[in-house]
């Protein structure tokens, strides 16, 4: 918007940014049938993401049991799903605990 060369969504602000429209892959999940799903995020609620697979089917994935890999431009970011809990408009102002207190 203001500076077109810099990407809008970065690994630093992905927890507060928009997830709808991103390409996603599930790396780990407590439910083994969810592992390996690839697709696009089409909707988001407090506890779930709705992923549309490339063949057109939609899957509802709970956030807190999975580890996601999001595609940002030509890079990939791994995100622990329990950090994404919260309604999409509430995530904007959410306080995030330091998980790596170096």
């Amino acid at each position: 918007m203001r500076s077109d060369d810099a990407p809008m969504i970065t690994p630093q602000n992905i927890l507060r940014h928009e997830l709808i429209g991103l390409d996603v892959e599930i790396l780990e999940a407590s439910n083994p049938s969810l592992v390996g799903i690839k697709g696009r995020v089409v909707d988001e609620t407090r506890n779930t993401l709705v992923i549309e697979k490339y063949d057109g089917r939609e899957v509802v994935v709970p956030k807190d049991v999975a580890v996601f890999k999001f595609k940002l431009g030509d890079k990939y970011v791994k995100v622990i799903g329990s950090l994404l809990i919260g309604r999409p408009e509430d995530r904007l102002k959410k306080k995030i605990k330091n998980i790596y207190p170096y």
Partner: protein, 121 residues
């Protein structure tokens, strides 16, 4: 990790832009429920972050039925030179709701210019 207000507002504007572009795409594909959901989310984000909805998009949504308006396709734009309140009227052809944008200031300026021309003659 406190995020400053300015940064939150910047992120909110970016999110609104992303969602509205997706909503337009969804309308073109004919997925109306998804489009409504995206517009609802983007309006909620604007309220939460206390940013005014960008003018570029404000006039392109129907607040009554939450559809993206594409000028000349699902809405019609007319200027109404009402004497009390001249305005631009955008009518949604889906639900019939009319958005009125007043143009009192522009009309006054025009009248003033006309008067000045007459005086010159």
């Amino acid at each position: 990790m406190g995020y400053s207000k300015r940064r939150i507002k910047k992120i909110a504007l970016e999110r609104i832009d992303i969602l509205m572009n997706l909503a337009e795409e969804a309308y073109r594909k004919g997925e109306l429920d998804r489009m409504r959901r995206y517009i609802e989310l983007s309006r909620r984000i604007a309220m939460k972050a206390r940013v005014s909805f960008p003018k570029k998009w404000k006039r392109r949504i129907c607040k009554k039925c939450l559809t993206v308006l594409i000028y000349g396709e699902n809405c019609k734009v007319r200027t109404v030179s009402d004497k009390n309140c001249p305005h631009v009227a955008i009518k949604c052809l889906n639900c019939g709701n009319v958005i009125k944008i007043p143009m009192v200031r522009e009309k006054k300026l025009k009248r003033k210019l006309k008067r000045m021309k007459k005086e010159d003659k």
